[in-house]
Symmetry: C2
Amino acid sequence: MKLINQLSKETGIPIGTIRFYEKSGLIKGELKPEVKTNNYVYYGEEAADKLRFILMAKAVGFTLHEIKEVIDMWYEKTISKKAQLKVLDQKLLQIDEKISELNAMKAQIFICKTNIQNR
Amino acid sequence: MKLINQLSKETGIPIGTIRFYEKSGLIKGELKPEVKTNNYVYYGEEAADKLRFILMAKAVGFTLHEIKEVIDMWYEKTISKKAQLKVLDQKLLQIDEKISELNAMKAQIFICKTNIQNR
DNA sequence: ATAAAGTATGAAGTATACTATATAGTTTAA
DNA sequence: TTAAACTATATAGTATACTTCATACTTTAT
């Protein structure tokens, strides 16, 4: 269990952003009931994993809302198996679409490069 | 050559957004000098191609600024071949990074699915 | 013991990317 | 010919995702 500063250093995500993600319901830390002099929040590996996932997903254009949909499936036990798998399968489709679009972009850029070289 | 309404219908991008992209320097229409009763702007296939490229690039998380960098190489003749190819090669690297991240996300989601199924 | 560094909270500010509104002129179809 | 539809311009407003600031308390290092 680590404090926000360590979590920030570990993931490369600024403290302010981590707090913003926590307020947005993407990650969750916990108070240690035995600590009574302060209200410092502690984060486990789960939070670190989620932050790393957020970084990846954001880099490929998913919104925080879309990311939350997946993350909620991650550890959520109250939703039916079927519903959980459905959400995840939808995301897999979206990911494949994005991969297709990236490949289409590559093709376009190759064409553009060829045009430039033949000038 | 088409007016903004037709361009919008062809690409699925709202007129307001097209105007915003033009103001941002991503696309460019032209006035017809022979038309003197109005100042309607006409767009060619180049603008339509660029808009389709913008759609793809945005879907995979590129910012308008990053997209503009590529688009400027597209038809720009004032920049040296070498500089143009350098920018495009950088984008190709970024695209490959994004594909890697998408594959990593797929792997994570598969693990998550397996966990759910084994509950 | 005290200054520096870390933590929590709330509120305001910023950047990006639109989206809507108001105004005014132009074109087109009934 | 006139009302509906289209176009241009400028300005303001909105949503998302942070980022900064102010305040106050706690911990840590010297």
